[in-house]
């Protein structure tokens, strides 16, 4: 039931997002900031009461209750991230996004993302491998918030489109003043007829559409590139290159 409500709210947010596309750019962003505030308030209340319920001072929970609360918490977290992504998308589309560059450790960023997705990775019994340069720290000058949206979307897609017991490989390399990040899964792959639309300039593919469209716009803003290879039933590899 809580998941159903989360999906319903997500649909509602998307609907509001498309309704306001026709407004003037500045009004649109201001309006969405107000709407985002309205959505975030109940999200924080849901998350905090889950935290209070999980506190032993109100009594012990059994394993099923803990599992269900984790599902509600994760759904609320996802809703919150979707709101953040929509704001970034609006700012990008109206050229109002400021990139805040700072020293960013890619290994730490990926570790945080994997920690957040651990529940899904374990549930699908996925084998996750990470490879980093041995002789250098994986550190670049980038906007960590934007890069987090990019990497989380790509890793989440790899997890989502992998079958049970599948493999997800993350490789980070420094090459010719570029940081190359490769996220590979051996999942279902993208059907041939949909490949041309995957990195298109509009939201035009059904399920991966929104997140990949945003990824592409963010990387363009960061003067970075993205590419992918995919084969049906063999898997998909997304590669991004960032200025190091």
């Amino acid at each position: 039931m809580p998941l159903f409500i989360a999906v319903l709210v997500l649909l509602l947010i998307t609907l509001i997002f498309f309704l306001i596309l026709s407004r003037e750019e500045k009004d649109k962003i201001e309006f969405f900031h107000v709407m985002a505030h309205r959505f975030r308030s109940p999200i924080s209340i849901v998350k905090w009461y889950i935290e209070l319920l999980s506190n032993k001072s109100v009594g012990d929970l059994n394993d099923k209750q803990k599992e269900y609360l984790t599902e509600i918490f994760n759904a609320s977290e996802r809703l919150n991230e979707t709101i953040d992504s929509l704001i970034v998308l609006l700012q990008l589309q109206s050229n109002n996004l400021t990139v805040k560059t700072e020293k960013t450790n890619i290994k730490d960023l990926i570790a945080q993302i994997i920690h957040k997705l651990q529940f899904k990775i374990e549930r699908r019994k996925l084998h996750l491998q990470e490879n980093y340069p041995k002789d250098q720290e994986a550190v670049i000058q980038a906007d960590p918030k934007l890069l987090n949206i990019v990497l989380q979307s790509l890793i989440e897609n790899a997890v989502k489109y992998s079958p049970e017991n599948g493999n997800v490989d993350i490789k980070v390399n420094l090459l010719n003043k570029k940081m190359m990040i490769e996220i590979k899964d051996d999942g279902y792959g993208i059907p041939k007829e949909r490949r041309s639309g995957v990195l298109a300039d509009s939201v035009n593919s059904k399920d991966m559409g929104f997140s990949l469209y945003l990824v592409k716009l963010i990387l363009r803003k960061m003067r970075s590139n993205i590419d992918f290879k995919s084969e049906e039933n063999k898997g998909t590899t997304f590669s991004i290159s960032l200025p190091a």
Binding site: H33, R40, K47, W48, E51, N55, N80, I87
Partner: protein, 128 residues
């Protein structure tokens, strides 16, 4: 040791209650106010050790309340943590923060109750 006094200024009842419960667990004395006007009066009367302040509230918003509080001799240095769901990137918020110097600006939907308690302890230099 005396219990430290925390004032929560927050118009949303469920939010106020959740934070109060988390703080009461940690042996703080908790005071509450439902809007900026009431929050300003309670602050000047009770002199709490720390104020947790929401921004969007009826009667007087949190930023205006903090600007008024900073005009008071005691209020100009009292530790304050802004706790809101308002995006911190807007220019009006950034200007206000620079002017009123809160210790932290926390976004409610991104922070756990435990994280709020940790920040309060850090600001009040309370060790676990």
């Amino acid at each position: 040791m005396d219990k430290k006094k925390i004032l929560i200024i927050e118009d949303e009842e469920a939010t106020q209650k959740a934070i109060s419960e988390a703080l009461a667990d940690q042996e703080f004395t908790v005071l509450t106010a439902n809007d900026g006007e009431e929050g300003l009066a309670t602050s000047l009367r009770e002199h709490p050790d720390l104020i947790l302040l929401d921004i969007l509230m009826p009667k007087m918003d949190g930023m205006i309340m903090l600007q008024k509080l900073r005009l008071d001799e005691w209020g100009k240095t009292v530790s304050t943590i802004i706790l809101t769901n308002v995006n911190p990137n807007s220019s009006s918020v950034i200007n206000s923060i620079l002017q009123t110097e809160p210790a932290y600006y926390l976004v409610k939907s991104d922070v756990k109750l435990e994280g709020i308690v940790d920040k309060i302890k850090e600001v009040l230099k309370i060790e676990d």
